[in-house]
């Protein structure tokens, strides 16, 4: 089953989507609309997002692309719900920068509370998987708590969704093709098999440090192939058997409107 949150005809709905793309509300009523319909507003799929952990340099080829040695220990940073937005929503490019890029990532959503979880038990704590785009702005990097909040905590720069696929429905999460297109052109083509620290490792690692809770989110990093994004661009991050996440870039002024 797939699970999502949408706004449809003015109502915020928690929905399930079955193998035939039939949408049902949590009460079991069928919602008569196509998944492709513009009448659906997609919300971030985790209803109550907790701590968002994101991985840096978790694919060896991407680490090399950024001129870093692949890390010996996970590079983890934290984000919060202000960064989240849904499928087919907008993300903004800050004014006056040189290089902002997407990062297509497999996301594991934690489903139950745990501390000191062993690697072999880790998958029991994962409720499902989705896709996120963990945008980065290279201009704002400094060598303090890198990557810093100025890069990684901006409003709207973590689109996620459109849905969560139940963990039981994904046969092998460690061998999924991951692709990104910008304006229809493929710019990133990798596989989750090239992750340095896989999901069981990350669940074990993080839960040795702290308690993981339902709604916590692990964004597992991106492979090689990142390019600059400009307002007007459409970026689609896709992971085989999970979902495709579309985002349209806007300017900072367009995003903030009256608050700009």
């Amino acid at each position: 089953m797939r699970r999502a949150r949408i706004v449809f005809q003015g109502n915020e709905l928690d929905i399930t989507i079955d193998a035939n793309d039939i949408i049902r509300t949590s009460a079991g009523d069928v919602v008569d609309v196509s998944l492709e319909s513009d009448q659906i507003t997609w919300l971030p799929p985790v209803k109550v997002p907790g701590t968002i952990f994101a991985l840096g340099l978790n694919y060896a080829d991407h680490a090399t692309e950024l001129a870093f040695e692949p890390p010996k220990e996970p590079l983890v940073f934290i984000k919060h719900a202000n960064t989240l937005t849904g499928h087919k929503q907008v993300s903004y490019r800050p004014d006056g920068i040189e290089f902002q890029h997407y990062e297509c990532e497999l996301v594991a959503v934690i489903g139950k509370t745990g501390k000191n979880i062993k690697r072999e038990d880790a998958m029991e704590y994962v409720a499902g998987y989705t896709v996120c785009n963990d945008f980065a702005i290279r201009d704002y990097l400094e060598n303090y708590y890198r990557p810093n909040l100025r890069v990684k905590s901006r409003d709207s720069l973590l689109p996620m969704g459109p849905w969560i696929v139940d963990a039981a429905d994904v046969a092998d999460v460690s061998n999924l093709r991951l692709t990104t297109t910008v304006n229809g052109e493929v710019t990133q083509d990798g596989s989750t098999k090239d992750m340095i620290f896989d999901i069981p490792f990350l669940v074990e690692y993080l839960s040795k440090i702290m308690t993981l809770n339902p709604g916590d989110i692990i964004a597992t990093g991106t492979p090689h192939g990142v390019v600059d994004m400009q307002p007007g661009d459409t970026v689609v991050c896709s992971i085989e058997n999970i979902c495709s996440l579309e985002t349209r870039m806007v300017s900072e002024q367009e995003y903030y409107g009256d608050r700009y």
Binding site: I78, H80, N82, E142, Y144, Y145, L149
Partner: protein
Amino acid sequence: MNNKTLVNSKLVCVALNDREQLNAMDSAFNEAPYKQPPTEPVLYYKPRNTWNVEGAAIEWAKDFDGNDVESMVVGASLGVVIGKEACRVNRSQALEYVGGYTIVSDFSLPEKSYYRPDIKGKCLDGSAPVGPEIISAEQIADPDGLVVTIAVNGERKSQFPLLNMERSVAELIETISHIMTLQPGEIIAVGFAGDRVPVAKGDQVAAAIEGVGTLNNTLGGA
């Protein structure tokens, strides 16, 4: 997360905001891996699993082998509680967005490096008590004039006048609210004395700000 926490949704902390510490570390910050001193506020989160309350016992941290860590430290900060949604506010209006003030203690492993996010050091369960209460903003005329002290077992170990902060409360609200829209109840810990205070198992730690209160916690594991 402690259900009685005073934090709503987010606790942002400002590191390296003690001018004396910045001056003392200037040569280190001009070398690798930093290469140059920070040009922007250095921020980190204490995530929800860390949030704790007045009176709570703070767990002594374990290393990855399950053994007690050798050393822990504590820092204390004024906690600025956002009162209304703050999106891209100017420093001249920033204090209008403050609903109140409280105290944040940050228990952690010693700060050995600022190069990478310090998840292992800063994200320990229950390591961020906030309290004892939130004092309404009207009662504090000049937040930058406050002094934060830490006493361990009744003996004063640290005294940090916020006038020694590199960046003021209003300036930080301006900068942070241009990165992220801040919501009511979110808290910014605006600055810690550069020298964190070493603590031992069983220690009683009192973080205090005159006019805001005293936040008392005990280290567990004794």
